[in-house]
C-alpha cells in the first residue's frame, strides 16, 4: 500500500517536472523516459523468460519507420503513424517470433541480431522508406508534449509488467526461464507464452520508436536499427534487475544519468568509462541492482566478493 502511494507520488512528480525544469531537463527527460520504456519492454521477454533478444532494435526500427512513412510520405497524423508502426512491429513479432523462439541461448540472440540487420538492409533499399537517405518528419516545438507522451508510455509498460509479475501468464514465463522442458511437461504452452511476451515487448518498443522519430524529426536506417541501442536496453534492464517490475526503470534512470553526466563533464572519455562500468557491473553485481540491495543488507560488502567466488571458474 505504502509502495503504491509512493509510486503514484513519483509519477505525479515526474509528470509535473517539465513545468519546473528547463528545456535541457525536458530533453534529457524524454530520452531517459524512452530508454526506461525500452528497457522495460526488453524486460518482458528477456527478464521473465531469459530469452535475450537483440531484435528489439528491429521493432524499434519498424515503429520508427511506420511513424515516419505515415507522416512524411502519406501525410497522415501522428497517432496513425504510431499505430502503423506498432502494427508492423507486432506483426513481425508473430511471424518471425514463431520460428526464432525455437532457438535457445546464443543462437536465439544471434538470430534476433540477424533479424535486425536484415530489416535494416531491406529498409535501406525501399523507395517508400527513403532508401538509405532517410525521411524527414514535420517539425513540432512541443517538447513538453513529447515528455508527457513518453512518461505515459513508461507508466503503461510498467503497469503491464506489474500485471505480468502477478499473473498466471507471468508465472508461466518464469517457469520457462527456470526450466523450459519442465514447463512444457507441466502443460504450459511455452510457444504461445513466448510469442505473446515478444508481441508485448515489440508493441512498447515500437511506440517508443515512433515518439522518438517525431521528436527528433529525421530518421535513417543506421539510427533506426541501431544495434548499440539494443545493447543499451539489455544493459539497463540487466543493471536494474531483470525479471523485476521496477528494476529496469530504476536501472535505466541511473545509467542515463551517469552517461549524461559523463558525456557532459569529461566529454571524450565518457564512452570509455561507460564501457568500464559495464565490465565492472557484470563482474561485481551480475544480477542487477535489485539483487545488490538484498545482498548488501544480508552480507554487506562481502556481496561483491561472493559474486566472484560464485561465478569464477
Amino acid at each position: 500500500m505504502v509502495r503504491a502511494i509512493l509510486l503514484i507520488l513519483a509519477v505525479v512528480f515526474l509528470a509535473a517536472a517539465p513545468f519546473f525544469g528547463d528545456a535541457v531537463m525536458i530533453q534529457y527527460g524524454i530520452d531517459a523516459l524512452l530508454f526506461a520504456t525500452l528497457a522495460q519492454a526488453w524486460n518482458i521477454l528477456g527478464g521473465f523468460t531469459g530469452y535475450a533478444s537483440f531484435g528489439n532494435s528491429a521493432f524499434y526500427g519498424l515503429g520508427t519507420y511506420g511513424t515516419a512513412i505515415a507522416m512524411a510520405q502519406l501525410h497522415l497524423p501522428f497517432w496513425v503513424g504510431l499505430s502503423l508502426g506498432a502494427f508492423l512491429a507486432v506483426l513481425c513479432a508473430v511471424v518471425i517470433g514463431l520460428p526464432i523462439l525455437r532457438l535457445r541461448g546464443h543462437y536465439f540472440a544471434i538470430a534476433t541480431l540477424g533479424l535486425s540487420a536484415t530489416l535494416a538492409a531491406i529498409i535501406s533499399n525501399l523507395d517508400i522508406s527513403g532508401r538509405n537517405i532517410g525521411l524527414i518528419l514535420p517539425l513540432t516545438r512541443n517538447d513538453v508534449g513529447f515528455y508527457e507522451e513518453a512518461l505515459a508510455l513508461l507508466v503503461a509498460s510498467t503497469l503491464t509488467v506489474m500485471w505480468i509479475a502477478k499473473s498466471r501468464f507471468g508465472m508461466g514465463l518464469i517457469a520457462i526461464r527456470e526450466d523450459e522442458d519442465a514447463a512444457q511437461v507441466m502443460g504450459i504452452n511455452t510457444t504461445f507464452y513466448k510469442v505473446v511476451a515478444l508481441m508485448l515487448s515489440a508493441f512498447f518498443t515500437a511506440i517508443a520508436g515512433g515518439i522518438h522519430a517525431y521528436w527528433i524529426t529525421f530518421i535513417d536506417p543506421a539510427s533506426a536499427f541501431d544495434l548499440s541501442l539494443n545493447v543499451r536496453m539489455v544493459i539497463m534492464a540487466m543493471f536494474g534487475g531483470p525479471g523485476t517490475v521496477l528494476g529496469p526503470v530504476v536501472g535505466s534512470f541511473i545509467l542515463s544519468a551517469v552517461y549524461d553526466a559523463l558525456a557532459r563533464s569529461i566529454s571524450t572519455a565518457a564512452a570509455l568509462l561507460f564501457g568500464m562500468v559495464i565490465v565492472l557491473a557484470v563482474i561485481f553485481m551480475p544480477r542487477g541492482l535489485w539483487d545488490l540491495g538484498h545482498g548488501l543488507r544480508q552480507v554487506g560488502w562481502r556481496y561483491f566478493l561472493q559474486n566472484i567466488r560464485l561465478h569464477r571458474l
Binding site: 538492409a121 557484470v282 571458474l313
Partner: protein, 285 residues
C-alpha cells in the same frame, strides 16, 4: 569471364573472412563465450602489423606471427583476469562483458592511435598475376593461403596434441578436462589467447587489403557471427568453407542483385540457416 573473376574475388575474400571467424568459433565452441570484442581484437592485430611494418620495417607477412604472439598475450590476460571471473554466471553476462570490453578497447585504440585510417601498404600491395584472363591480387592470394595454413595448424593442434585434446575435452565437459591434469583456468586462458592470436593474424591481413581504424571492429564481429553460424563450431576447415560461401554469395549478390543488397543477403542467409536447422542441434548451446 566476368563470372569467373567474380567467383575468384569471392573465394579469396572468403578465405580472409573465414580466418576472421576462426578465432570466434574456437572461443565460442570451447568456452561457450560469444565474444563481441572479437572485431576489436582483429583491429588491434591490424595496428600491430601496421606499426611493425612502418615503424620497424618488418614485412607485413613476416610481422603476422609477432602480432599473433602479442594478441595471444592480450587474449590470455583478458580471459585469465577478467572473463574467468564470470564464466559461470548467466550466459547473457558474457555477452555484456565482452560488449563492454569492445567499447573499452575501441576507445583506448582511438586515444592511442587517433581516428586516422592506416593502410598497410608494402611495395607489392597492388601486385597481381593474370591467369586465363582472371586477375588474381597477390596479397589476397597470400591472405587466402595464410588462412589455409592457420586453419591447418589449428586443426593439427586440436587433433594431434595433448593440449588440443584437453581443449576439446573442455568443450565437452569441464570435469573431463581435469582428467588431463590441466588447470582449467589456464586452459581457458590459453584457448581465448589462441582465438585472439587468430584474430590478430586476420587483422594484419585485413589492413593489407583494406585499412584499419579504431572503428572497423563492429562490422567484422557481425561478419564473423554469420560465418561462424554457417560453418558450425566443430571443424576449422568448416569455418573457412563458411567464409568462402559468404564471400562468394556477397560477390555474386553485388553484381546480380545490387551492391546495396550484400548485407541483406548475408544476414538473411544467417536467419534462414538458423531457422531451417533442426532444432535439436541448436538446443542448449
Amino acid at each position: 569471364m566476368l563470372f569467373a573473376q567474380i567467383m575468384v574475388n569471392g573465394l579469396l575474400l572468403g578465405g580472409l573472412y573465414g580466418l576472421m571467424a576462426l578465432g570466434m568459433a574456437l572461443v565460442w565452441g570451447v568456452l561457450n563465450i560469444v565474444n563481441l570484442a572479437h572485431g576489436a581484437v582483429v583491429m588491434l592485430g591490424g595496428y600491430c602489423v601496421y606499426f611493425l611494418f612502418t615503424g620497424a620495417g618488418i614485412d607485413p607477412f613476416a610481422a603476422l606471427p609477432i602480432a599473433m604472439v602479442v594478441m595471444f598475450a592480450l587474449g590470455y590476460l583478458l580471459q585469465r583476469y577478467v572473463l574467468n571471473l564470470i564464466i559461470r554466471s548467466a550466459q547473457l553476462n558474457t555477452l555484456l562483458i565482452t560488449f563492454g570490453l569492445d567499447v573499452v578497447l575501441t576507445y583506448l585504440a582511438q586515444l592511442a592511435f587517433s581516428a586516422d585510417f592506416r593502410a598497410i601498404n608494402p611495395s607489392y600491395a597492388g601486385a597481381n598475376l593474370t591467369w586465363m584472363g582472371v586477375t588474381i591480387p597477390l596479397v589476397r592470394l597470400g591472405a587466402f593461403v595464410t588462412a589455409l595454413i592457420l586453419a591447418g595448424l589449428l586443426w593439427a593442434l586440436l587433433q594431434r596434441t595433448r593440449l588440443g585434446r584437453a581443449i576439446r575435452a573442455t568443450a565437452q565437459n569441464l570435469v573431463a578436462a581435469r582428467l588431463y591434469g590441466v588447470n582449467p583456468a589456464q586452459l581457458y586462458a590459453v584457448t581465448f589467447g589462441l582465438g585472439a592470436a587468430l584474430a590478430g593474424a586476420a587483422g594484419g591481413l585485413y589492413g593489407m587489403v583494406s585499412q584499419v581504424t579504431p572503428y572497423v571492429g563492429a562490422a567484422l564481429t557481425a561478419k564473423s557471427f554469420v560465418i561462424t553460424i554457417m560453418g558450425g563450431l566443430e571443424n576449422p576447415f568448416g569455418i573457412l568453407l563458411g567464409g568462402v560461401f559468404i564471400g562468394i554469395a556477397e560477390a555474386l549478390a553485388a553484381i546480380y542483385i545490387g551492391p546495396t543488397f550484400t548485407d541483406a543477403i548475408s544476414f538473411g542467409l544467417l536467419l534462414l540457416i538458423l531457422v531451417a536447422r533442426p532444432a535439436r542441434s541448436l538446443r542448449g548451446a
